[in-house]
């Protein structure tokens, strides 16, 4: 296989990381919502934790993007 083609395939495979980020973000928001439905008075206090968890989960998907960029541009 040519190197160029292999690079493209590898970069595309690195995008699979986004599946994990999607599951993570969905879990965080889903669990926050179900928790907030059960105890609405405690929901507002946990909102910063929700945002923190969202940002942390989203970042793991973006590590996949960094891998893709390294494959495409660094080698």
């Amino acid at each position: 296989m040519e190197l160029e083609a292999a690079k493209m395939i590898g970069a595309g495979l690195a995008a699979i990381a986004l599946a994990g980020a999607g599951v993570g973000i969905g879990l965080i928001f889903g669990n926050y919502l179900s928790g907030a439905m059960r105890n609405p008075s405690a929901a507002a206090k946990q909102f910063p934790n929700l945002l923190l968890g969202f940002a942390l989960a989203e970042a793991t998907g973006l590590f996949g993007l960094v891998v893709a960029l390294i494959i495409l541009f660094a080698f």
């Binding site: 945002l51 923190l52 969202f54 940002a55 942390l56 989203e58 970042a59 973006l62 590590f63 993007l65 960094v66 960029l69 541009f73």
Partner: protein, 244 residues
Amino acid sequence: MAINPMHQFEVYKVGPEINLGGINLSFTNASLFMTISAILISSLLFFGTKKKSLIPSKIQLITEMSYTFIAKMINETAGSSAKAFFPFVFTLFMFVLFCNMIGMLPYSFTVTSQIIVTFVLAAIIFIGVTIIGFIKHGIKYLELFVPKGVPIVLLPLIIVIEIISYLSRPVSLSVRLFANMLAGHTMLKVFGGFVISLGLLGGWLPLSFTVALTGLEILIAFLQAYVFAILTCIYLNDALNLHH
């Protein structure tokens, strides 16, 4: 093909080239936008605290809000003993926030989309926190790698994992901010390219998408500054209050 979406991250020099002993110290667009954000932060704080009235003006309100926001965050995550590090965390948060927000303006340059900028910030935090931990606890700071209540059999494995996770802190901290900024701005430019290539007939759909994405990116710009600051507080908490 439209314009390369990576073109916006190019660093070029503004003004004359300066060479000091083989090191290129030219004033680049990155340094220009760092200077702009530093000036903006300084003027916000200067004019916000100039006229201290009981009923605050808008600019004084923004200044007080950012102060209480960070002060509360430090108090909640790192305890009252971290109060001494308020200036550092506040500077860090404001710098990252303003760099991210200025980067959202069209035709501007996002300083935090350069890995070296975020890595230097993260490395300063990592080295500083390690030094603070050793000053505060001496050699006992190494107990950080030994969690309480772990069976003796598992201990060798746990210690190795803990050391690796401690050493990967600066990498994950810097790559998180850098990758978020890079991905967001690339995505905006890619959708902007769709608007041009689809033309007057079909370009409205990606245009509305770009508007929505810009809103999301402004949220992300704030969130990443917040996460950067709160993780600094969490690391400080580890160093100041061992095993709490």
